[in-house]
């Protein structure tokens, strides 16, 4: 379903690729976060998009118009599901009521994969609905790994975790975020959704070198990239998803491509949402940078 180009049975790679960098079988191409504002255009227009990501929680409803559109669009495009409420790092018990809803939606949509964030969103039965940073130490590492294993067992499939933007760090951290993230993936068997903008935002807020982050992540674990816009206040940067992708983030994307190769890439826009054509132009920019960096897909 995901791969609409011929696959070489021997190598699992695309035979049409002119790129000298091998194209992994899970590569979906260049996608976009699906937003209600664009439902009608996505169905009506012939657009150059390879796949869509949907926010799982938005469709954990019983029925109605948005869900009707979702299923129509799913018939036309590959999809991945992206959640914001797993709260994998929380010390509250795992929310199996939520996980059951996630599983139902997974069965309905048959996504290529499902993802959530390396963070916690609430504790003591209160939900902040924010992606709050964890301390990066052994206690948190053991806690997260054990919960990822439980979630993957319940869902019957590996999940992807995404790095979040953060504005503070804790004194009881004993390792860097990328050491922590990489270790979570290695030990729990989860895969990685690398948000290039979030690396840039956190690097600015915590004064680290974003290239160190990229270098610290195992090459074979990354399955998806996010690209998004932010708001730059000089002393700090906030991950607002209400602007086009900024130039330094495009530059970091190029570096990420050089390290990780062909990775399914998409644009995330959540606020100040422009007409679909404007976002498609950003997707084209990502496609062009990837082609320039890695060669032609053929």
């Amino acid at each position: 379903m995901a791969n609409n180009q011929p696959i070489d049975n021997m190598t699992g790679e695309r035979s049409l690729s002119l790129s000298n960098v091998p194209v992994p079988e899970h590569f979906l191409g260049f996608g976009l976060g699906l937003r209600t504002e664009h439902f009608q255009d996505v169905l009506n227009d012939k657009i150059n998009i390879d796949w869509f990501e949907v926010v799982s929680e938005n469709f954990m409803v019983d029925g109605g118009k948005p869900k009707h559109y979702l299923h129509s669009i799913r018939e036309l495009y590959p999809m991945v599901m992206h959640g914001v409420s797993l709260s994998i790092g929380s010390t509250d018990p795992l929310n199996f009521d939520y996980l059951r809803k996630l599983k139902v939606l997974t069965n309905e949509l048959q996504p290529e994969w499902i993802s959530d964030h390396l963070c916690w969103t609430g504790a003591h039965e209160k939900n902040s609905h924010d992606l709050l940073p964890l301390p990066y130490n052994d206690e948190a590492l053991n806690h997260v790994c054990q919960r990822v294993e439980q979630v993957q067992e319940f869902l019957g499939r590996p999940i992807l975790l995404e790095n979040v933007s953060s504005y503070l760090s804790y004194k009881n951290s004993t390792m860097t975020e990328w050491q922590f993230f990489n270790e979570v993936a290695r030990r729990s068997g989860c895969e990685i959704l690398l948000d290039i903008n979030n690396i840039y935002v956190s690097a600015r807020n915590h004064d680290f070198n974003p290239q160190d982050y990229l270098n610290g992540i195992a090459k074979d674990k990354v399955k998806q990239f996010h690209l998004a816009g932010h708001s730059d206040y000089g002393d700090y940067v906030i991950d607002t998803h209400d602007h086009p992708v900024a130039d330094p983030v495009w530059q970091l994307y190029e570096k990420a491509l050089q390290r990780f190769g062909w990775i399914s890439t998409m644009i995330e826009r959540d606020d100040n949402i422009p007409p679909l054509v404007e976002l498609l132009a950003e997707v084209d920019t990502a496609r062009n940078i990837a082609t320039k960096t890695l060669g032609s897909l053929g």
Partner: protein
Amino acid sequence: MKNDEKNKSKYSVSKLSLHSLQQQMMNYLTDDKSAVAQHVVEHGGISREARLHIYKNAYQMRFKETIDNDHQILGMYLGDDLFDQMVSGYIKAYPSNNTSLRNFADSLPTFLANQIPFKDYPLISELAHFERLLMVAFDAKDANHFTREHLLEMPHKHWPSLVFRFHPSVQIAMFNFNSVETWQALKQEQAPEPAKQAANIWLLWRNNDRLTQFRSLSQQEHHLMTMMLNGHDFASLCDNLLSQSPNEDISQLALNYLLSWIDDGILASH
């Protein structure tokens, strides 16, 4: 590597458990308790208070935007100052315990019915209740609608024993004030009539085109619908109409009701 060394030196050894750290962070977000600040790294051009405040500000804005989206007409009715007072009071009184923001403001009508100054104006709580019912109808479970074709396919002799089922989106709501009329006026950007007390009943549902609709119900129609909800068949509905208005053409009246329900998309097929 060099960067890792630099980072390490910033961290003092602290044995604070993950559980306590999360408790303190939530206490900061929900109740302004500042104990968590001592565990935050002081670094670069912005203070740790400013760093924490980014999260606090996002916490409040996120819930405010959610209420604003769900309750646009209520917002117009209250005006900015009262709306802000409602939002900050509600966020404190009903912190989210759900994984979806869709449900965050579910208790807003209850909050407004019990909190000064809002409780002195019961229309405010009713407006909020009406807007939440619109949301319920909007994303309620899907079902095929019962159509005129379905009815005609049925042999006439079976009509009396037909038991109709409502579409899952159907909501019946009673109000004590002219709340729905007020909502309608504001929606059309007109000045609403002053609040006045009068019992009224409304029907809300999602129609054949998946659009949310509502209309008022007479006592008679409401009574028939209550009977349907209790599983009474079409013959019982007709008997009831006959007992109320013995001189009318009951079969025509009953058929008119039935056809209007079918055409509105209120009934679900079996």
